[in-house]
């Protein structure tokens, strides 16, 4: 029997790029409303882990269940509509305006009608204070604006989970604050989140659980209270000593 609030269950996830084993068997379960922060050194497999969840990377082995349904090549396209993702480099569609970026998927996939999508886009844009940019192309926006729009683009789909892949790593300090406070707000509104980040202080603020990945394995996991103050492994102690 599975818990009714279980959103995601990952079993023995492995991923290799040719001979390079990036993920070496990850077991992980995500529950409704959790905010999981994924920490770890560069090249540890954090991003690959995140990108395997919505199959932007094809797993080499293992199973991923989303709401008790095993994700396969066949049902992943549908599942992605409910698994939002925010990228390090924003990935707004260059040939579309801000408004078109927001409405493309919900309208094409018939989740919303065009007037509904536009109305929702207007509300979200107003909320982040970027209403005046609705007809702008991504090339004319700053990094922080792009990322906030990328976040509301994911929200347009009413996702059940939001995956953040180092959302602030490509931003300047001022923009980082804007983006983090938007993520913070989503977290407060009971969004289920997995975030890969290097912002340790932010991680402490929002995390309900922290997982530490090194060399393709989860080395330690636990609530932030114990993870940051009383880690059990030497590897995490060493990591925290260096970053804090």
């Amino acid at each position: 029997m599975t818990d009714s609030s279980e959103v995601l269950r990952i079993h023995n996830l492995k991923k290799s790029f040719d001979k390079n084993k990036v993920l070496k068997g990850i077991d992980f379960t995500l529950f409704q409303g959790e905010k999981v922060v994924v920490l770890g050194p560069s090249g540890s497999g954090k991003s690959t882990f995140l990108r395997s969840i919505n199959r932007l990377e094809e797993p080499t082995a293992g199973e991923i269940y989303f709401r008790d349904e095993l994700l396969t090549d066949k049902n992943i396209v549908k599942a992605r509509q409910k698994i939002g993702m925010v990228f390090q480099h924003f990935n707004l569609i260059n040939n579309l305006t801000v408004l078109e970026n927001l409405t493309l998927a919900p309208v094409t996939l018939k989740i919303l009608t065009e007037p509904e999508a536009i109305k929702k886009a207007h509300e979200l844009l107003r909320h982040i204070g970027l209403s005046h940019k609705e007809h702008a192309y991504p090339s004319s926006l700053s990094g922080g604006e792009k990322q906030r729009i990328a976040i509301i683009r994911a929200m347009m789909m009413n996702p059940e989970i939001l995956l953040f892949d180092e959302p602030t790593s490509a931003l300047d300090p001022e923009a980082i604050g804007d983006v983090l406070s938007l993520i913070h707000e989503l977290a407060d509104r009971s969004m289920t989140i997995i975030i890969v980040t290097h912002e340790i202080n932010f991680a402490k603020e929002i995390a309900t659980r922290v997982i530490f990945i090194d060399s393709g394995k989860i080395i330690e996991e636990g609530p932030p209270s114990t993870f940051f103050t009383n880690p059990s492994t030497d590897r995490v102690k060493e990591f925290l000593r260096k970053v804090l």
Partner: protein, 235 residues
Amino acid sequence: MTDFFTKLIELFNTPEYMDSLLRGFLLTIEISFFAILVGFALGTIIALIETAKPSKWLIIPKWLCHIYTTIIRGTPMALQLFIMFFIIFAIRDFPELITAVLAFGFNSAAYTSEIIRGGILSVDKGQKEAGLALGLKNSTIFRKIIAPQAIKNIIPALGNEIVTVIKETAIVSMVGMYDLNMAAKDIGSGHNLASYIVPMFTAALFYLATIYLITFLVRRLEKRLRKSDNQEYAI
């Protein structure tokens, strides 16, 4: 020098010569126009096969595309033209124009496919991933995201290919077709004008004017597309 100008005026004032040149010019344009269309259509198909995700259904098509582009790009255009005229379409009363269009079209397809392939690959990987992450189908991603950006990237190279085809069609005179190049030679070898330089100079002007016009139009298109890239609001 005065002789050159006198003969140039004579050429422009003799309807017979002008008719020949215009007839030749028309054929050059006809062959080029249809060959470019054939090349673009076939080139697009080849590029799509080559850039498609590998699967067992595509092993043979991908291999055929590779062989095709290798052979076409590795042999002279003039030889391909001869093969089309004297072997493949050596059928009595088969329209020469179609043979020529196919010869140049098949040749251009090999180059155009490379241009289009490059254009598709030049679109940042993140653009496709954004579409995938939103739950869009591959076909939608291609139509709404990849293709519009790829087209913008390939316009300069495509313009170049059009210019190349127009100039290359001059070799149809080798199989006896009466194109602009042939017309210049024909007029020059006649007894009345007794000058090669004047008709060839004129033919050169025709080619140059055509290519200049195309280059100008391509540049304008390029500029317009780039503008919408950097401007804050859509035009």
